[in-house]
Symmetry: C2
Subunit: 196 residues, 2 copies
């Protein structure tokens, strides 16, 4: 399925991880990163990520002239009521990783699909529990020094070296990466598009 | 870490999924598929995969002249005491998928590391529970028609379109793919090699 009832797919995200999820599903996608302003607080996490996914898709859909389905996504890490986004610097990355070490947190990822021509939209979210191993300080420092944590919510990437921090997950792996394949497939189906 | 105390890494597996796990960890690996004969039954699943991982690594180590650590791996899918390997044909793939639909199964992956010069070896296994959605017959047929199930234990690939069949997992994702990153890191550490 490379085009969907004649519409192209546009991913409103610069994340190579999300692009990889699209490729995994055999979806040929054009990438147009969104410039939408995101909200960081003031809503429960699941509503916050869903709103942000809709904003990202909406901003790109608003400047798209072709027949296209625009996909937005957003991810947060939540532990003990605290929402962790991307760390500002190495020091904050280290403090996030210390906070996550040896316990459970949740990753919530939302996806939104908007038809650029009709404005019709669909959105949803998924949640996965992640259990970190108890990690010695020197390992956390070595991980931060790799540079991987800096552009990632919660300061780790499970699809990279960060896999070594994670003991196990309960839920969907794609949700931790940043986009749940089953959720995306369900949303696309609402627009008449079947992946297989 | 591209070389390890002067030794090259050799992956005794032709599986592109396992090669991807090595790349995820930043490990530069040479691929030399093993011709070892595998056992299919007669042992509990965890012992069976560990024995096969050792056989694969051992066969390649036996014909390796350089200073190298040889990595072998093996994976089975287990449900209700039945071990599912790779399906023989599309019909068997379909029957495996029907069997997995709507329930839990376990994926067990073993890894073995052998030092080609000293013969020293280390091995272990990891296990992850996978919960399939209840899947309609036409979806299973469409999935089999993509060709993806044919070279995979249990007739699905979670890192491909098969992600759409999986509701959730409990455990490590790499184990379902065919090689657990944390297990591999632990084994390599026994040979003095730290990933980061």
């Amino acid at each position: 399925m490379s085009d969907l009832t004649g519409k192209k797919l546009i991913l409103a995200s610069a994340s190579p991880r999300r692009q990889a999820v699209m490729a995994q599903l055999g979806l040929i996608t054009e990438v147009r990163p969104s410039g939408a302003s995101e909200i960081k607080e003031g809503l429960p996490p699941a509503l916050l990520v869903t709103e942000n996914a809709l904003r990202k898709a909406g901003e790109v859909a608003g400047r798209t002239r072709e027949a296209a389905l625009v996909i937005g996504a957003d991810t947060v890490v939540v532990k003990e009521g605290r929402i962790l986004g991307k760390p500002r610097d190495e020091e904050e990355a280290l403090s996030m990783l210390r906070f996550l070490s040896g316990g459970r947190h949740d990753v919530i990822s939302a996806a939104a699909v908007i038809d650029a021509q009709t404005g019709r939209e669909a959105a949803g979210h998924s949640q996965t529990a992640v259990f970190f191993a108890t990690l010695p300080e020197e390992l956390l420092r070595a991980y931060v020094a790799t540079g991987e944590p800096l552009d990632k919510a919660g300061a780790y990437g499970i699809q990279g070296l960060g896999a070594l921090l994670v003991e196990r997950i309960e839920g969907d792996y794609g949700t931790v990466v940043g986009l749940c394949p089953r959720l995306l497939a369900r949303l696309l189906r609402e627009f008449g598009a079947e992946i297989f």
